[in-house]
Structure formats: structure tokens, C-alpha cells
Symmetry: D2
Subunit: 207 residues, 4 copies
């Protein structure tokens, strides 16, 4: 699905770089007071800093792919997030660049999952919603494909590969809202709606 | 979206009846000890009994459509569920028929929503998952369309009408699982997977 | 539990009024274009307007009590929220007063529930979080008590009545945060922490 | 909070062993096809096998403590779960013992969290609910304490340390239910309820 989303983004004209977390992340977040180097840098010896500072921070959008493990993201992806801490805390020489660099991105998520019941992924969707809100990012979509063996989501009759490609293609076009009661807005969501004039949300209660 | 899902189900050869809750439900669940008639029947004067006993119980599947109001289903749809109680409690003459009739159905849900952020519908999806689990029903899918005025979801570039039609079409074909650790199953989800032989879930951690 | 929360709030010196929704709400949200009176007022004939305009809007805080029905709030409470719409839409003569009056309140929730597993109430907690966020309200706490017959939560060994009373007592004292990455804050949450000097969030990973 | 929960469990007469994940878990789940030893054992070089096979599997209950990192459990705790896979898959010599050993436990969770808004932990609670359901475990409770520096939850006026101690003390006494519509049960939850005779769930709708 990651490949499909990337394909979609490329079709839309975007430059995309694909990285595998296993090439960058070996160590988990520990006790910074023990790990931290004299200049405040993270002392964990792997390629995380290259990933975060040179690739993630520089990107305008992230497409995050993870299997569903134990009703959540993989431990490696979780570690990707946990270690943001070492680069955004007061002691880090990267604090300003990374803090600023993480915000205002668009984020799309694709999840492969052995099970197809909806409750399996609710906790994960909630978590991505909160993470992106905290970071002033826009969560543009989450596509879930059912499969267990590598590549098997291609056989999911729900066609998650098509959905992932579409998500990638519309990565910068998808409208994301998070209103409060006093947010000014029209009673039409879509400017070019073909719906008949006069229709109005007032009359929606005929479920 | 309800129309699209119905169209899909009809294309798959199913008989579909459409009902509007506002034609059947006027009263909310009250204090059964005061409302209940001498024979244990519900005394609320509207057409709910006809809806529940003659239509819902008789169906093999339900396609439920609701706007998202206050991050949940409409109060009328909630009342549809609340009043199950009066027909499944010990005092009801309908207890056995309704209790048995509610279980083992397939349930699809379509939601129209002004907002597009994912967190807006997480609580509702969770609730439908729990309701269907409690009733031994299978929740085959939830499609969410963004729109505010009547018919406006047709303009949602995420194409929820297509997704709703597809959900209706595959209503009885969608695979729903809810595994425990000791549930026997293959390491392939889809029998006819085109994925290369030898691929295996073991190697999924390269998100 | 509602009584316990009220008792707590009174002990803290607050004026509290208790209302039962069944005394105020009979009708569900319908099609405003048909119900609405000539001056834009809601035409549903019950005491909702008195409840909303004279009681809810005037309060500094709300303690909301509901049983868990079908993994959500009662249909009557849901209707309480649904009908906000008729008073905050452009056509309502109450729009400004009600919109302004609903915001900036503290909200506490107490839920009685037959079941004790945690997943039963997750959807409802999510929904209250979203509702209060939308309304610029502060959700100060949710207490869940297990019981099925009236008053039975008093026997719950988790002591929800004590928790509800405590919630009421601290209604205006509870600290509610919802940070973003750039929210300025100390690395200490509690000003008067007795924890040893030098301890720091950096070292929290020894779960 | 972990200490408080342990203290409670000890007061109730249970033998409790405390372990720190950082003493046992260094490596994350990788590609089993590359890591796995000739006899099917996990080849990751740390003390995880001792933890899982000799401690976790042998226990009757688990008290799991984690900080809330990025709206989820720590990456190290997530890795604790992810690596169950290597011991429950067909190739593992431990499969039967670990699979059987993980089920039918009681699980309590304590979470320390900088933020106090309820939505922050909803995803995590959902995830623990799903994990324990999958493993036929009983999730007896989740206690959330607010604090940022080590030990600071002691200052949380919500008294999470007391709640954690109580959770530990009642670890084997807490009633956990997960009903379906056809689950036989009384309309009283608590056998020794002091509530007045005649009260009944039928009349609960006066929220």
C-alpha cells in the first residue's frame, strides 16, 4: 500500500522519497540523562538523526505505512515518534529546527491488517489524530487494507491499493477541517456542489 | 449515500426496503414501569413496533444511515436502539422473537458529516462496533461522506457514493473477522492471493 | 451518582440546580424547515427552550448524568445536544445568546453502566471530548459507576459515588490541558510537587 | 504509580515481582526469517526470552505501567507486545507454552501522563481492551495519573496513587464483564446491593 500511495503522489507531480525505518532506527528511547552527549545531542548510535533532521523535517508531507501489530502501530514506528522527544527538548541543539520542521505537514497513513473488523484500528486512528493535532499537522486520511502475507492486500476486495493511490494523489488537495462552534463557514462544504439549491443541513434528520 | 448503498444491494440481487425513522419513531425511551401496557407491551404511541417487529427483525441485513450530529448518531437513531430494551426485556411478549431476530445480521453504516477530520467519527465507529458485537451481528463496513447540505456528499472528492454503493453490493460478501489468539486461521487471508509464494507475515515490519 | 456529584459541588460552595431531562424534552430534532416558527424559533412543543435558554446557558458548569445505553448516551440526552442546532443556526432569534452561552463552561460527566469492561464507555468518552472541544468547554472528568438497578452503583466496590462527589467538589479546580507542541509549559505539572528535585520527564521510560 | 499498585497487590497477600523493561528489551521486532535461529527460537540478543517465558507466562496477573508517549504506550512496551509474535508463531519451540501462558490472566494498567484531558488516553485504553480481548485476558482497570517529572503524580489532586493501590489490592476481585444480548444475568449487578427492593434498570432514563 505504501508503494501505491507513493505512486499516487508521484502521479500528482510530487517528489517522493521512500525510507524503511529498519534502515534508520535501532535503539529505543531510553533515559536521556544517561544517553545524551555533552552538546545535548542524542547519543543513540543509529541513523535516526539523519532520518529525522534531513528527511522528515525537510518534507512537506509524510505517508506513514505500518502493519497493525497488537492493535497499534509497530514498535519501530512508535519509537520513531518517541525519539522526537530527544530533538525537541530544551537540551537539544536541534530543538528549534525540528520543532518547527515537524509542524504544518500533511500526513497520510496506510495500515495493513490481518483482521477486518472495524474496532481493530479505532485506537490507532485515534492516536494518529491526536499526534497530528499536537504537531499542528493535517491528517488527510487513513487507508486500511486487509492482508497477512506480504503483498496480500492486493487481493482485498475492498481495493485498498486503489484507495492508497488515490490518497497519495490527493495528498495536498484533501480538505481537512476541525471546527469549533464559532468557526465561520458556509452551510455548503463543496463550492461546486451539484446539489439542488435550497437544500440545507437543517433537513438531514431522516436517517 | 443511503440511496447509493441500496442501489448497490439491489444490483447484487437483494430485496431492499427503505424506511425513514421519522415515519416510525416519535417517542423516546421513558420509564417502562409507567409506560408498559398490561400485557407487557410498549405503550409508546407511534409506529416503532411495526418497524422493529415487522421490518428490522425480518431483515437479513441492515444498512443504517445517519448524519453525524454532535459526534454521534442522531437522537432518533439512538432512540431506535434504546427502545430495543422494551422488546427484549423479560416483560415483553416479543422478547424471544425480537432477541433472536436482532442477532446474526449483517450491518453496514453510512454517515454524512460536515467535517472531514478523522477523529470526528471515531466514537461513533466504536459505538457501532460494540453494538453489533453485543448483538452477534457483523459490522461489514462504515462509509463516511463529507457534506452539509442535502445531496452534497455527491461532491466529496473521496467519492463516498461509490464506496457506499460498493458496500451495498458486497453486503453479504465482505469478510468480517474478530480473532482471538487461539482462533485457527491460515497465514493467508485471501484464498486467491496473487502475492508471490514464500511471502509471510513475519516480514511485515518495514513500515 | 448525579446526587453525589451535586453534593460535592454544594460542599464546595456552589449553587446547583438539578433538572431531569424527561421534564423538558419530548420531541426529537426534525426538519427545521417544517418545524420552525415564523420568527425562526423552534416549534417543538415541550420545555426545551426553558431548559436551554434559562438554565443551561446561565450555568457556569454542567454535571451531565446518563446511563450507558447501547454504548452511548441515552437518546434523550442525545436529543438535548441535537436540538442545540435549532438555537445556534442563523435563523434562530436566540443564536447569539445561546452560542455564546454554551461556550466556556466546565463539564463533568457521570455514567452508570451495567458492564464493567473498559471498552464499553470508550466511544462515549470520545464523544464528550469532541463535543466539549467543539464548544470551547472543558471536560473536567468522567466517572463511571457499575450498576443496573436504581441506586445500585452504591454497591460498586470501585466507589464511584465517592469519585462523583470528588468530581463535583473539584469542578472548578480541576486542571484541564490540551497541549500542542509549541504550548509553553514547565516540565513540572504541579507547582507544589513534593517530588525530589532533579527528577525530570526525560527519565520516564522504565515502564 | 506502579509502586502503589504493587503495594496494593502485596497488601492483598499476593507475591509480586517488579521488572523494568529496559533491563530485558533492547531489540525491536525485525524480519523473523532473517533473525530466527535454526531451532526456530528468536535470535534477538537480549533478555526478552527470560522475561516472557520465565516471568510473564508464569504470572497470574500483570500490572503494566507506562508513561503516555505520543498518545500511546512507550515504544519499549509496544515492543514487549510485538515480540510475542516470535514466541507464538508456528516456528517457535515455545509456541504452546507461551500461547497458553499468555491467556487467562488479569491485567491492570497504570499510565502517567503530562496532560489531563480525557481524549489523550482514549486510544491507549482502546488498544489495551483489544489486546486483552485477543488474549482472553481480563482488563480489570486503567488508572491514569497526571505528572511530568518522576514521582510528580503524587501531587495530582485526583489521587492516582490511591487509585493504583486500590487497583492492585483488588486485582483478583474486580468484576469484569463483556456481555452479549443472550448472556444470562440478573438485573442486579451486585449481590449485596443495599439499594431498595423494587428498583429496576427499566427506570434509568432520567439523566
Amino acid at each position: 500500500m505504501a508503494d501505491a500511495a507513493v505512486r499516487g503522489a508521484r502521479k500528482a507531480g510530487h517528489d517522493v522519497e521512500t525510507v524503511h525505518l529498519s534502515d534508520y532506527i535501532e535503539g529505543m528511547l531510553g533515559d536521556c540523562r544517561q544517553c545524551r552527549l555533552a552538546d545535548g545531542s542524542c547519543g543513540i548510535k543509529d541513523n535516526y538523526e539523519d532520518l529525522l533532521v534531513n528527511r522528515v523535517v525537510e518534507a512537506d508531507a509524510l505517508i506513514i505505512a505500518t502493519p497493525l501489530y497488537w492493535y497499534g502501530m509497530s514498535g519501530r514506528l512508535k519509537t520513531f515518534f518517541d525519539r522526537f522527544f530527544c530533538y525537541t527538548s530544551n537540551s537539544s541543539p536541534h530543538q528549534d529546527a525540528v520543532t518547527k520542521g515537524l509542524t504544518n505537514k500533511r500526513v497520510a497513513v496506510v495500515v495493513s491488517c490481518e483482521e477486518s473488523y472495524r474496532g481493530a484500528t479505532v485506537g490507532l486512528v485515534t492516536q494518529f489524530q491526536e499526534i497530528t493535532r499536537y504537531l499542528h499537522q493535517e491528517l488527510v486520511g487513513v487507508v486500511i487494507g486487509v492482508g497477512n502475507s506480504r503483498g496480500e492486500v492486493a487481493s482485498d476486495p475492498g481495493r485498498p491499493l486503489d484507495a492508497a493511490e488515490d490518497l497519495g494523489r490527493r495528498l495536498f488537495d484533501i480538505r481537512v477541517t476541525d471546527y469549533r462552534i464559532d468557526t465561520p463557514r458556509s452551510n455548503r462544504v463543496w463550492a461546486t456542489s451539484p446539489a439542488a439549491a435550497g437544500a440545507h443541513a437543517d433537513d438531514a434528520d431522516d436517517a
